[in-house]
Every structure is written in structure tokens, then in C-alpha cells.
């Protein structure tokens, strides 16, 4: 950053800090972990990542969101490592979204998606910390009149050994902040890490055990009113009219209104009053052409996609699969099905919007993308993004749902309809959350393969029929007709098969689709890895050994597969009635493999005896957090495997709450052992990859136990229960 822009940024920074303390004064609670903003005013902003206070405490900025994945701790660990600071003196705060946008995205990517926080920002985070350290050292060296190269820094203390002089970051920070940032920045070898690579405790956890943690829906401002909302239950429908005569005079009801033409909201002085009144507002919906869509009609549409003569070809075609299948000694064909799924984060969606006289707009919400929230609100209100101040809070789960600002747009429109200066908190009911989601796409897979006389897989074809997140959600053109997320697992097909052809055909639904934790990798491995086991069985081969043979030159997938198999004791005898399944995957820059041990009783009761998960994520920045993410991913996957399905009737979603969309509970939790096997040299994701191999490892164990392949999810529809 050059001096001119730096001055600009510093002014903005101070202005925002004042704004932030102003926010405190009007009653917004800030979580204790990030409440140090008040101290920031006296501190020196060495660069956008690092602020050093005179009392030697250090503020490290965090630009993404925290929704439980732990990177609000692990990302600053990378900054702190290079900064050479005492971690106990570090406080972490969110980078300001408004300033970020005005500084042309100074903090890089704010979107907290795709298990990307560490893997796509590690370079600039480490350089940010290192640059700040170099500037602090240079400032000390200048004061002493010695070359910076003769000085060392450790734990926030700078030393010039030759003259036995010492100073601290706090004493030189103001001078350091005036220096030009260094051009050549050398980073530490990860094997020398002291802060990164350690299982440091998460900074947000203390506030999560005493009720102090503040989520978006906890926002409370003086004079605030509350809104409950219901959108057209048939997607794409509109409000024709509504009758609010039964609720208008009820206690606390302020108004009933249409929002964006497709939703009706009740505004009241208390959310419960608004929600209760909404039940008694009669809405006449224009459901349009989609009122006839059902899960049955959707299934036919997807099946037609599998059978269609033409589909888009993925670029990894090899040999002549059709010819090789014709000449194979055994041919297998199978269709796999994975349903729509809802995100259902524990914190329901909601946003608080405060439009002030003079045009300033403040927004509080739990989000995965501060930038998307800011832009979404600015767009719907028709105001410049400079006027919008987005206040990031801890998010009560996200899992892909919170990347989009639909609920904040609604809140902004309701706020605009109120007298200027009235803060509005919109909160969705659980039913609204379940029925107005953007769902994990429904997908079907047709797989066909040929095995030669000696049991080698010589040909493989794939046809994927699924929604396109790129085309349908993001309005992006498809490259040669292929959707990226839908083809995950096949586009990077790791198995050595001399003849292979993989195809994709888009199925556009009126049901909105979205990124759901682990995205395509949450469903394609069920088909890919399930079919590998079907092939192994047909060829009379051990499924682990067959994978090893087919992964022969794929060092990392093979390595993580071996790590899981070794930890599980693959090949060792099991108690009578217990069977193993194995699977391996390559999601989001990492490599994950799982082994599941289970038994199946005569009534289809599945009992999980043991789960072993292995991950190679290159570098393990906070090992205990990686373990937590894989434990959680296992729960996520097991829930989807057993019970997860969103179904459609008369154009609308049939599920509404946790009584009809079952989630795993304590008594169903299996033992999960996690093997972290980082091989270094690359940076892989952590938040999602643990889910990818779990379901196929489990269904492959069911195949081993029952002799019958599982080709459709959830398992409850195939006669299975969880014991």
C-alpha cells in the first residue's frame, strides 16, 4: 500500500472505529472476544491486519465469518505466527465490511464458503503478519540507528543483541505505521511454527458457554420493531391479495405488508405477536405454473435426463469407453439417487436494518458473506454501498445458506416502509427457513463399467443429471454445458481407467438450489465410491485393494486411503456380524478417506460400531479444530444418510420443522476417530472434506453386510433404521 492510500485508509479506519463505539452506545452488544475495538482508538494500525496498542495488546483483523468452523482463530494464528507476537496478547476483530468495499476489497475475499478461508488466504495472511513485523523492526532499528537486519523480534519484543537494546511493539508501533510496507517478504518454514500448527483454544468459545455470544438474531436497538414473514409456499408465486382484518387491532400489531411482491410480513412490537398474527392473515397466492410440481414429476424429469441422447461431455475423456464395455467380460450398470436437502442452521435466518435520516443504513445479520449482505441491501434500497454499514456477528451455523442476502433484502424493504429511524428486526420462523431455503440439488447418476477377465476395471461411463448452481443460482454461463459443483468427484476422477467418459446434463427446477455443505462432494461420492465397491464385488476383489490398484500414481489419495485403512486395521478380523466399508475422496484441496464398521440386524437396524476418518490437508493449522470439523462433518453426513430428504408436493416443500426433517441427536452419535495425516506442500480445506467419504464408507459397509448395494438415499426409505 502506498502512502496516499494508506492515509486514506487510516482516516476511514478512525471514522469506523468511532462508528463502532457509537454502535455500542446505542445498545448493540459486541461479543467479548471482539469488544476490544474501544482500545483500538489509541492503537497504531501497522497495516490492515495488525493494530498494536500502547499496552502491547495486539488486534488481528479477521475478514471472513465465524459460523463454527473455527477459522476466526486459525486464520489469525497464521498472522500471529509471522508477526512473532505473544498469542495471549492477541485480540481478534472483524474487518469492517464498509471500509473493505471502499478500499476496493483490501482484505481480500470475505466470502466464507468452499472451505476456503485458510487455503485461499494463507499467503496474504502470513505476509500481512510478516510485513507488520518487518515494519515494527525497521522502526526500532531507525530509532537506534542500526541496520534492521541486526535486530530480532520475538513475542512482541525487538532486540538488538550487539548493543543489548530492547524495545516492544507497543513503543514503536506509531512510528512503524508511518513506514512504507516492505516489498520482499520471506515467510517461515512451517516446521518452525510456534503459534500456527498448534491446537490453540478457539477465541470465540468462552462467550458461547455463558450466553454472552451475540448472533445476528440477538440484535436489539432502542425503538426497534419486529417482523415475521411468509413467502409464497410455491416457489415463484406472488401475493394476489391478503386480508388482515382479524389481526389489525390486536395488541402490538403495527402493520401488515407485502414484501417484494411475493411475501407478506407482519410488523409488531414483539416478534411472537408478529408471528402469531401472521398465522391469521389470509393470503391469496398466485402460485403460477409450478403448483403442479411434485417429487414424482421431478423424478421423471431427472430420469429423462439420464436417458437423453445428448449431454455435455467432461474434458477428462479417455480411450473409447463404449467399445471397451462391449468387449468386457463383465458389465455393471447402476443408477444412484440423492435428494434435495435443507441447510437448517440452528440460528434461523434474520436481519436487523436501521435506516437513518441522512441516508446511513446499518445492517446486523449472521452471514457467510459481509460483502454480499452490504451489496444486497444497497441494491434493494437503491443507495450507494458507501452508505451501508454491515455489522458482522457470530453466525449460528451457515453451511452455505448464509452466502445470499435474500432475508436482509426483505428486512431492508420493511425498514424503508417504516418511519425513518425505526430499526426493524426480521426473523424467519423455522418453517420459513425450511420451506424457503435454497436446497442441495437433487441429483441422479447413471454409471456403467466393464471389468476384464483378470478383474481389472477397463471402462467407465458416468451420466450426471442435476441442477446447475452456476446457471440457476449464480446466472453464470456454463462452460461447454458443464456445471462445476454438480460434477465434483467425476471431473477430477482420480481412478486409473483406460477408457472413461463422464457427462453432465442440467436439470433446472422451480425449487431453488444452493450450496449445501460439501456441495457436489456431499453426493457424488455416494455414487462413485459406491459403484467402486459394486465393481470390486463383481470382480471378487477387496474394495481397498481395488482402489489401491486404480489409484496407483495418485500419491495423495492413495496416502490418505492407506492412512484410514491402517488406522482402522483393514483386513483384520472383525467380530461376527460386523462389516467394514471404505471410501476415498479429494474435496476442496484436501484428501479424505473413511472406514465405517457396522452391523445390520434382521429388521434393517444399522448399528455403527466405529468410524475412522483420515484427512490430508497439507498443513494442519489448528489440529484440534480439524478434529472438531471432521467429527461435525461425520454427524452432518450420517444425518443426511439416514433421514435427509426434502420432498415436493403441489409445488411446495412438505417438510416444515425438526419433527419432519430429522436431525441426529446424542443417542445416535457414533464414535469417530480422526487421523490427521498432513503431508505438507499444499493447503487444503477442512470445514467440508470430512463429509465426503463418510456416506459411501457407510453404504459400502451395508453392501458388505447385506450383499445388496444401496443406491438411493436416505436410508430410512430403503428400510433401514439407526440402532
Amino acid at each position: 500500500m502506498k502512502n496516499a492510500s494508506f492515509k486514506q485508509s487510516r482516516r476511514d479506519f478512525l471514522a469506523n472505529s468511532v462508528a463502532a463505539t457509537g454502535g455500542l452506545a446505542i445498545g448493540m452488544h459486541i461479543p467479548s472476544a471482539v469488544a476490544q475495538k474501544t482500545g483500538v482508538l489509541e492503537g497504531a494500525e501497522v497495516n490492515i491486519w495488525v493494530v498494536v496498542n500502547p499496552d502491547e495488546s495486539v488486534v488481528i483483523r479477521y475478514a471472513r465469518s465465524e459460523m463454527g468452523q473455527g477459522s476466526m482463530t486459525s486464520a489469525p494464528q497464521l498472522v500471529a505466527e509471522e508477526l512473532d507476537v505473544d498469542w495471549r496478547k492477541v485480540r481478534i476483530e472483524y474487518a469492517d465490511t464498509n471500509r473493505h468495499v471502499r478500499l476496493k476489497r483490501a482484505w481480500g475475499d470475505m466470502a466464507t464458503v468452499g472451505s476456503r478461508t485458510i487455503r485461499t488466504s494463507q499467503d496474504y495472511l502470513r505476509k500481512g503478519g510478516a510485513a507488520a513485523r518487518m515494519m515494527l523492526v525497521s522502526a526500532a532499528a531507525q530509532q537506534w540507528g542500526v541496520p534492521p537486519g541486526e535486530c530480532t523480534a520475538a513475542g512482541g519484543v525487538i532486540t538488538h543483541a550487539a548493543s543489548r537494546r530492547r524495545t516492544t511493539y507497543g513503543k514503536v508501533a506509531a512510528a512503524a505505521a508511518k513506514l512504507d510496507p516492505p516489498k520482499d517478504i520471506a515467510l517461515k518454514d512451517p516446521k518452525d511454527w510456534k503459534i500456527a500448527g498448534k491446537s490453540l483454544r478457539r477465541i470465540d468459545i468462552p462467550a458461547s458457554v455463558n450466553g454472552a455470544q451475540r448472533y445476528g438474531v440477538d440484535t436489539q436497538l432502542p425503538g426497534m420493531v419486529y417482523a415475521a414473514i411468509t413467502k409464497s409456499p410455491v416457489f415463484g408465486g406472488k401475493v394476489k391479495s391478503f386480508d388482515d382484518s382479524r389481526v389489525k387491532t390486536r395488541r402490538g400489531i403495527i402493520k401488515v405488508m407485502t414484501v417484494e411482491g411475493d411475501a407478506v410480513a407482519v410488523v409488531a412490537d414483539n416478534w411472537w405477536r408478529a408471528k402469531e398474527a401472521l398465522k391469521d392473515v389470509q393470503v391469496d397466492w398466485d402460485t403460477g405454473a409450478n403448483g403442479g410440481v411434485s417429487s414424482t414429476s421431478l423424478l421423471e424429469f431427472f430420469k429423462a435426463g439420464l436417458a437423453a441422447p445428448e449431454a455435455a461431455l467432461l474434458p477428462n475423456r479417455k480411450g473409447d469407453a463404449e467399445k471397451a464395455i462391449a468387449g468386457a467380460s463383465k458389465v455393471l450398470e447402476a443408477e444412484y439417487f440423492t435428494p434435495f436437502l435443507a441447510h437448517a442452521p440452528m440460528e434461523p435466518l434474520g436481519a436487523t436494518v436501521h435506516i437513518q435520516q441522512g441516508g446511513r443504513v446499518d445492517v446486523w445479520a449472521s452471514t457467510q458473506s459481509g460483502e454480499a449482505m452490504l451489496a444486497g441491501v444497497a441494491n434493494v434500497l437503491g443507495v450507494p454501498t458507501d452508505n451501508v454499514y454491515f455489522h458482522k456477528t457470530q453466525a449460528g451455523g451457515g453451511f452455505g445458506r448464509r452466502s445470499f442476502p435474500d432475508f436482509a433484502r426483505q428486512a431492508a424493504l420493511i425498514a424503508r416502509s417504516m418511519p425513518v429511524g425505526t430499526p426493524v428486526k426480521l426473523l424467519w420462523s423455522r418453517e420459513e427457513d425450511m420451506q424457503q431455503d435454497n436446497y442441495r440439488p437433487l441429483a441422479m447418476y447413471r454409471l456403467k463399467a466393464g471389468i476384464d477377465a483378470s478383474g481389472h476395471v477397463v471402462a467407465w461411463t458416468t451420466r450426471i443429471a442435476s441442477g446447475s448452481l452456476a446457471a440457476q443460482l449464480l446466472n453464470l454461463p456454463l462452460k461447454n454445458g458443464v456445471d462445476g459443483p454438480a460434477t465434483e468427484g467425476f471431473a477430477e476422477f482420480p481412478y486409473e481407467v483406460p477408457n472413461q467418459r463422464h457427462e453432465y446434463i442440467q436439470r433446472r427446477t422451480h425449487v431453488p438450489i444452493g450450496f449445501w455443505r460439501t456441495v457436489g462432494w456431499s453426493q457424488s461420492p455416494f455414487a462413485r465410491e459406491g459403484f467402486i465397491d459394486e465393481l470390486a464385488r463383481a470382480a471378487g476383489r477387496d474394495p481397498y485393494e481395488l482402489r489401491r490398484e486404480m489409484l496407483k500414481d495418485e500419491k495423495r489419495p492413495l496416502g490418505v486411503l492407506d492412512a484410514a485403512a491402517k488406522a482402522a486395521g483393514w483386513g483384520r478380523p472383525l467380530p461376527k456380524g460386523v462389516f467394514r466399508g471404505i471410501a476415498t475422496t479429494e474435496p476442496y484441496g484436501s484428501f479424505t478417506a473413511a472406514v465405517v464398521e457396522l452391523s445390520v440386524d434382521g429388521k434393517g437396524g444399522v448399528k455403527l460400531h466405529r468410524v475412522v476418518q483420515a484427512i490430508d490437508c497439507g498443513y494442519a493449522v489448528n489440529p484440534d479444530n480439524i478434529v472438531a470439523q471432521i467429527e461435525g462433518s461425520s454427524v452432518w453426513a450420517l444425518t443426511a444418510a439416514m433421514w435427509g430428504e426434502i420432498t415436493v408436493k403441489d409445488g411446495r416443500i412438505e417438510q416444515g420443522n425438526f419433527d419432519t426433517y430429522r436431525l441426529l441427536r446424542m443417542r445416535e452419535m457414533p464414535k469417530v476417530e480422526v487421523v490427521i495425516a498432513p503431508t505438507g506442500g499444499f493447503w487444503g480445506g477442512v470445514g467440508e472434506p470430512g463429509q465426503a467419504p463418510f456416506i459411501p464408507a457407510m453404504t459400502n459397509a451395508i453392501l458388505a453386510a447385506t450383499g445388496k448395494p444401496v443406491r438411493s438415499l436416505p436410508l430410512k426409505n430403503q428400510g433401514f433404521t439407526l440402532v
Binding site: D204, I205, W272, M346, P348, A395, G396, R430, M666
Partner: protein, 158 residues
């Protein structure tokens, strides 16, 4: 006016008797530690204690709380030093944290009734939903808090 005893403090609220306790806590009294998750007593994010018993406050009318002792997450300790809270931090239980107020309230009630819970006791008492999947750590933390309590009891005897 409905008179309530919340965390040892007397409060008076002017609300409909059928308003669920959850919304009185959250929207009327600005006590945000108790969470809304489902509204139908399924998930347990809203768990509070009525006379020490865990109750799902989203489905508990405020009128029924009159004359009872209500305890929320804010009331179980002064400095986050309840053995359950300490164990939760020690075992790094929470991920997003949203359900954890309710999980902790359920665990505190369990340990009061069963100071040495078995895994089966934990299974039947801990029915709250955690979408992040922190169950294994919740179990470990409950056992750890039980050990701390046993240690404290032993020390008190000695």
C-alpha cells in the same frame, strides 16, 4: 402484570399470559442467552430451568412460570465458572455455539439429578439438537464436569 423470579431477581412484565417464556426473556427482558431454534420444543436451544428442571421455554407460557424459580444460562454462574461451563471450554465443545446455552442447561440439570451419569443417562437426558455435531465433545465434557463435582465433594468431606 406477571411477576417472575429470574435468576433470583424479581421482574414484572406486562404481556399476554400465553406468550412463551422464551419471547419474554428475549424480546421483553433483553436476555439473549436463551435461543430460539424451532418454536415447537424439538431442538432444545431455548432450554431454561423451572425450579431446577429443564424446560423448553419456546413452548412454556409465561403465566406458568409465575411463582416459580426461572434460571437461564446467564444465571448458572457469575464468572463462567460452573463445572459444566469449565468443562465445555476445556473440551472445546462449541462450534457455532448457538445451541450450547440449551445444551449446558440440559447438562446442568442432568448432573444435579445424576451426579455420575452413565453414557445411557447422557443419551436419554441430552436430547437437544446440535447441527454442528458436537455430541462427542458434549459427552466428554459432561463426564469431566461430573469428575470435577466428585473431586469437590471429596474435598468438602476431607
Amino acid at each position: 402484570m406477571i411477576k417472575l423470579n429470574i435468576n433470583g431477581r424479581q421482574r414484572e412484565v406486562d404481556v399476554e399470559p400465553e406468550m412463551p417464556l422464551l419471547w419474554v426473556l428475549r424480546d421483553v427482558l433483553d436476555m439473549k442467552g436463551t435461543k430460539f431454534g424451532c418454536g415447537i420444543a424439538q431442538c432444545g436451544a431455548c432450554t431454561v430451568h423451572i425450579n431446577g428442571e429443564p424446560v423448553r421455554s419456546c413452548s412454556f407460557p409465561v403465566s406458568a412460570a409465575e411463582g416459580q424459580r426461572v434460571t437461564t444460562i446467564e444465571g448458572i454462574s457469575r464468572n463462567s465458572n460452573h463445572p459444566v461451563q469449565v468443562a465445555w471450554v476445556e473440551h472445546q465443545v462449541p462450534q457455532c455455539g448457538y445451541c450450547q446455552s440449551g445444551q449446558i442447561m440440559a447438562a446442568v440439570a442432568l448432573l444435579r439429578k445424576k451426579p455420575n451419569p452413565t453414557d445411557a443417562d447422557i443419551d436419554s437426558a441430552m436430547t437437544n439438537i446440535c447441527r454442528c455435531g458436537t455430541y462427542a465433545r458434549i459427552r466428554k465434557a459432561i463426564h469431566a464436569a461430573a469428575r470435577t463435582n466428585r473431586g469437590a465433594a471429596k474435598a468438602a468431606k476431607a
